[in-house]
């Protein structure tokens, strides 16, 4: 009789494991070559420590108690444990710290959604390097990582985590209304944003239009011009930050792989400034993400600017498989066309 495993977890058999390890190895070699040393942290941490990093309550999904009654939790991302490690174990090390990791994280799921409780992440943290240079180094490495696993069509979305927080401050929207609008923006629920914003006395027609327009602005450098036309101090500051990063990306010759996206928001509590998401045209899901977390190290007692990204190992694998399938399909239809011309081999 077959015994079950928890929903949202899975076993890996040799053929798949070989391919997953090949991806891990390709990424690891690239990160090593760029001076990122591998670290490991425990899967379980003190709940208070993770919550301190998250900067808000209710982080993580799996909590339990040890023999002495202390609350433990399974890590729900790798950045917080590594920030803790950097602030304590590596407190004496010379910044910038370049660290890489490969490990499992644990997230709660809704039943029957095909969501995974355990996800394998491969990523890096660059600690002690300021924006924009540190951000540019990170995005360059990210693009290199995507190329190293054959995903040369993948695109990096680049946004600014502070844009809407500062914009709502500028519009003097505070308290629960501010939180509700940020939740709508993060979900990109434009209908709800219009409804929430329409109900607020603080927001006039122009402010409401600005929020909706900004949340849909995505594309190349022209996006920043269009953003500046919408106006306001928060927009100007975010545009300047993004422009400085984008200039560095152009100089590095990788701006073509990066899409500016003013509507980008990520739901983790520690991001400041630049935030990243990774997309591949062959897959309907996000491959990974990251960003700057300039305040996180300070919460662990060693204030330093920092940034990082994480890629979902299984999704990289899925995207690889899809890209291979598509290119085989294209090759065979090309061959058919060629043999139709009487020039086929």
């Amino acid at each position: 009789m077959s015994q079950p495993i928890p929903r949202g977890t899975r076993d890996i058999l040799p053929e798949e494991m070989r391919e997953l390890r090949a991806i891990e190895r390709a990424l690891g070699e690239l990160f090593d070559a760029r001076g990122y040393g591998e670290v490991g942290t425990p899967s379980i941490e003190y709940h208070d420590v993770l919550e301190l990093g998250e900067g808000r309550e209710g982080s993580g999904g799996y909590r339990f108690f040890d023999e002495s009654g202390a609350a433990l939790a399974l890590r729900s991302d790798m950045t917080i444990p590594i920030a803790r490690l950097a602030a304590s174990r590596l407190a004496g090390a010379q910044a910038p710290l370049r660290l890489r990791y490969s490990g499992s994280i644990y997230r709660p799921v809704r039943p029957q959604r095909g969501q995974m409780r355990e996800l394998r992440q491969v990523g890096v943290e660059l600690i002690g390097a300021e924006a924009p240079a540190g951000t540019v180094e990170l995005i360059e490495l990210l693009v290199g990582a995507l190329d190293a696993v054959g995903l040369d069509r993948a695109v990096v979305g680049l946004g600014d985590a502070d844009l809407f927080r500062q914009l709502l401050d500028e519009f003097e929207v505070a308290g629960s209304a501010r939180d509700r609008i940020l939740v709508c923006l993060e979900a990109h629920d434009l209908v709800a944003i219009e409804a929430e914003a329409g109900d607020l006395a603080e927001l006039g027609e122009a402010e409401r239009m600005a929020i909706v327009a900004l949340s849909s602005l995505r594309g190349g450098a022209e996006v920043l011009e269009r953003a500046r036309m919408i106006g306001g101090e928060a927009v100007e500051r975010a545009s300047s930050r993004l422009a400085a990063t984008y200039e560095g990306l152009e100089a590095a010759g990788i701006a073509g792989r990066v899409q500016l996206d003013l509507g980008l928001l990520r739901d983790l509590g520690y991001y400041t400034g630049a935030i990243l998401e990774v997309y591949d045209p062959a897959l309907g899901h996000i491959l990974g993400g990251g960003g700057r977390y300039d305040d996180l190290l300070g919460r662990f007692g060693r204030p330093m600017p920092a940034a990082g990204f994480a890629l979902y190992l299984e999704r990289l694998h899925l995207a690889q498989a899809e890209e291979e399938r598509l290119s085989k399909q294209a090759a065979s239809s090309h061959q058919q066309a060629a043999s139709g011309d009487g020039r086929g081999s």
């Binding site: 899975r10 798949e16 809704r110 959604r113 095909g114 969501q115 995974m116 069509r153 695109v155 979305g157 979900a187 990109h188 629920d189 434009l190 209908v191 709800a192 219009e194 849909s216 995505r218 594309g219 899409q259 996206d261 998401e277 997309y279 591949d280 045209p281 062959a282 897959l283 309907g284 899901h285 996000i286 979902y312 299984e314 999704r315 694998h317 899925l318 995207a319 498989a321 899809e322 399938r325 598509l326 399909q329």
Partner: protein
């Protein structure tokens, strides 16, 4: 590839026409009317063909159950989709972008009970809790929780109106258009939970990677819906 490994992938060509998931059922006609006004030829999907995929030139249309639309869009099997807000409220954890309120298909999500009876109130007073039959268990749970009332929500798949008539439940939470079905079964609206219209959804990755096509199509559909 193991299909259970991560949520479904998108097995299709990049660069083809945008794929739009349309809901079969009461929203289907108004959706096709909107596509007509947007300049698409909809004779084929209107016909009695059993086909599920239709080529409308700049759009490829797939027809699915209304409650399946978010599933297809979330996985990227469709770039865009249209379904009722009732479906989106029930599946509020879906990672899809809700881009526009198309305005048509207006219905109300209501709490209803037998007309002229105080069955709900009596159950609440004497038993501390109501039994509520619904096709929308999460919507019902959220409504009663927000109202601070106790209810035992019983999920049924169809003919919800029957439940209070035969003693399965004290009341129902259901989507109501004209209210005729309620009246025919001797039920009346006790409370309105929300007003639901057709919404236009987009897959997150398609929204990021096919910017100009998506933005132009959304504008075109939004104008045709107005």
């Amino acid at each position: 590839m193991n299909p259970a490994s991560v949520q479904a992938a998108t097995p299709r060509e990049a660069g083809g026409p945008l794929r739009l998931a349309l809901p079969r059922g009461s929203l289907f006609e108004p959706c096709l009317d909107m596509l007509d006004r947007a300049g698409f030829a909809t004779a084929e999907p209107r016909g009695d063909s059993r086909a599920l995929i239709f080529d409308l030139g700049e759009l490829s249309v797939v027809t699915v159950r209304p409650s399946d639309v978010p599933t297809y869009v979330e996985a990227g099997a469709a770039d865009l989709g249209i379904t009722g807000k009732d479906v989106l409220i029930e599946q509020s954890d879906r990672a899809v972008y809700e881009l526009a309120d198309l305005g048509f298909g207006r219905c109300r999500m209501v709490l209803a009970a037998r007309a002229g009876s105080d069955q709900l109130g009596e159950a609440e007073r004497r038993l501390g809790s109501m039994r509520i039959a619904t096709k929308y268990p999460r919507t019902a749970d959220a409504f009663f929780e927000a109202a601070g009332r106790q209810a035992e929500v019983i999920e049924v798949k169809g003919s919800v109106e029957l439940a209070p008539l035969v003693g399965l439940a004290d009341g129902i939470v259901d989507l109501v258009d004209t209210g005729r079905t309620l009246a025919d079964n001797g039920l009346e609206v006790v409370d309105e939970i929300s007003v639901c219209t057709a919404r236009l959804l987009a897959n997150r990755v398609a929204h990021k990677l096919r910017v100009d096509e998506i933005d132009a199509m959304v504008e075109r559909l939004r104008e045709a819906a107005a």
